[in-house]
Symmetry: C4
Subunit: 223 residues, 4 copies
């Protein structure tokens, strides 16, 4: 089934087969697994006097809230990455570069998480800036996911031959809508920090159960 | 053998095949491998004056005790995870979310380990709080493992077709019993910190040799 | 097709098959995935007074510039590693040792990145030394890549039988040319630190789209 | 070919097939890849005044020497692990526990490396203690490797059916000899720290080219 698709490759830069896609996803999985686990480094052991440990641990709740939110946020990004590459059979240099950009931004999430944990309870503009940086990172991730998925849809010879390309293309607006949510969360971050963090958590849980792409077996199921 | 099982999927949310289970376990393995290795960051190089190194290194024994215990605790969680996903052939969104929650709690173990290493020898309530937090984390891991295994057992179309579902379901009470041990260790932590740590080590070694689930080849062997 | 090649093994040290190459690349992928993700540890959360966070975060731009550059640099090294091992079917002890040396130098990149982020804006010789160390590390990586690829080309029984060895050998001078660029960047580092960093970024982006080795399917495509 | 071997399983605890060995080695590879990469955290960026960076970086040579040595030491342990599990087809609980102990000790090497880097140039007993701890860790790794390989040899139903068990058993004394070298290095550490570190490096390079186990294709080649 592949030959007619391959002949449609206009740039001649198609360099990989399905086995190559497997190594790309394995590398991406490794990066995402390390990034999600590095979140634990934001949980700090407090040094306190006698009898103060329980109280101080409870006072650190912004760290735990940021940890839980970011763990689910990166987890959902992994599921999303996974969903896209289930229907991508081949990878060209452009797709590989977009994937590298995607990982580059996701890997900064332990940093923006730490920023939120440090400044969440600060009054004034510092907390809002920290939360807006956090939201902006997720927004950029959304943009790159949209570009990557859009690039694959625009070059159907990269997709599994069993994919219904028209049905798959109808999923793209929902991708863009997800990115718009993250844009809105930048604004919310500047208005109310705690509401913005809670919304990030809610969006992550929502996307854990809501599928954005097509399945290779039944493309129309997601339309 | 799969079709009759698949038609039993009431929610229609069944999205993956065995190959998908493989990527879920590969990601989980990556997260667990990073988490278990980050435990070494709790071993600190002391800065001491001339001739004091050997003494100071020996004084740091709570760090080593916490390291050894947590390495085996996470190692046994990996074996346990492994045992469950050997008989799970398909993954739906609910199972994927439970798995993400499971990893989220396990990944905090380097933090609770560091807490125990820091406060193990503190007299008064701080050491007990640290140890109780450690026990509570393992208890929550046990709860989520029980929920995940229970969910899979309640939805047998997710299991390998060769699994004897009735035999597999008879293993669930033993899972719950394991979780009860961790609940008891929270209480022990508040009574005697060193006994609680020793019991955690003993439980980990015990479970290293004791199987909790069924094998796909011979389901009745574990009943 | 393999037997005639195997009989050409002069040293008798040929110990692995394609499955072994797979485990070597999986281990290398793991190391590279951890190294690229550890770059995030160079992004530090500043501790600032009220209203100063946005300003301080912007002042940290050398950290972000170093992060982006090194993420792409290591990413391109991964792609490069990947390209070589797609045409390497067998691994002997010499190749395994060269691969270990390669990883040993690549893994230091988070250190040289941190050095550049710290000293980029320092006037005087410190910034130039930091940038020269960074360039020297990439130069040594280039040297080892050249040695590894040259070793494989000199021992064609290690290559996939479908590879056109003569065409593959014609790619080696381009490898050497890439290494010469990194040598030149050591000199540029001592002249102008910011230009050197920008050139590193440009070279990484260039190599993201430019292939250096042959493909096993169409060896002549890269000549 | 497997059935006669399997019937020789005296304990009835044989729980895994070759696919299970694959997941064990994948997890072990992940742990070793993280541990070897964490060595970079021992390379510290110095904070120095104008014009002092080159000098201070050169003064840090013990960190680089410890880094290079430990990278090769862990790399050779990975190759060694690899060599053993190429001929192990099945894993029982005892072997899985020995493997977990092995990883537990190897993962501490970034700590003992940091200890050596910190105290290498200290006169008096501190440097010797640091180096002796380093040697003791490698010695314990050797002991556990010997136990693991010995356990597999004593239970040949765990091995690949193509392995010549008698030839494989003749490799065990060479394993034990390797461990004796590490025992001797503990003594050398207490006599001369720099000689001990240089010998660790030399032993690692030697073992990179010297094979300790048998190959599944040609078991007699290693006898």
């Amino acid at each position: 089934v592949a030959p007619p698709n391959r002949s449609a490759d206009p740039s001649g830069s198609l360099v990989r087969q399905t086995a190559e896609t497997a190594r790309l996803t394995a590398f991406s999985d490794g990066v995402l697994a390390v990034a999600i686990t590095l979140l634990v480094l934001d949980l700090k052991v407090p040094r306190v006097g006698a009898g103060r440990l329980a109280h101080t641990l409870l006072e650190q709740w912004p760290s735990y809230a940021a940890y839980v939110t970011s763990f689910l946020v990166i987890g959902i990004m992994w599921i999303n990455h996974h969903s896209i590459f289930r229907v991508v059979a081949r990878v060209d240099r452009q797709l590989m570069f977009l994937n590298l950009l995607l990982l580059m931004v996701i890997v900064t999430i332990p940093f923006s998480t730490s920023l939120v944990a440090e400044y969440l309870l600060h009054s004034g503009i510092n907390g809002k800036i920290a939360m807006a940086v956090y939201s902006a990172v997720t927004f950029v991730v959304g943009l790159i996911f949209g570009a990557l998925w859009g690039y694959a849809l625009a070059h159907p010879y990269l997709l599994e031959p069993t994919v219904d390309v028209d049905a798959a293309r109808r999923t793209w607006p929902r991708f863009a809508a997800g990115t718009a949510i993250y844009a809105a969360l930048i604004v919310v971050s500047l208005l109310n920090v705690l509401v913005a963090l809670a919304l990030h958590l809610a969006v992550a849980v929502y996307y854990a159960f809501e599928r954005l792409t097509v399945s290779p077996q039944a493309p129309e199921a997601a339309s």
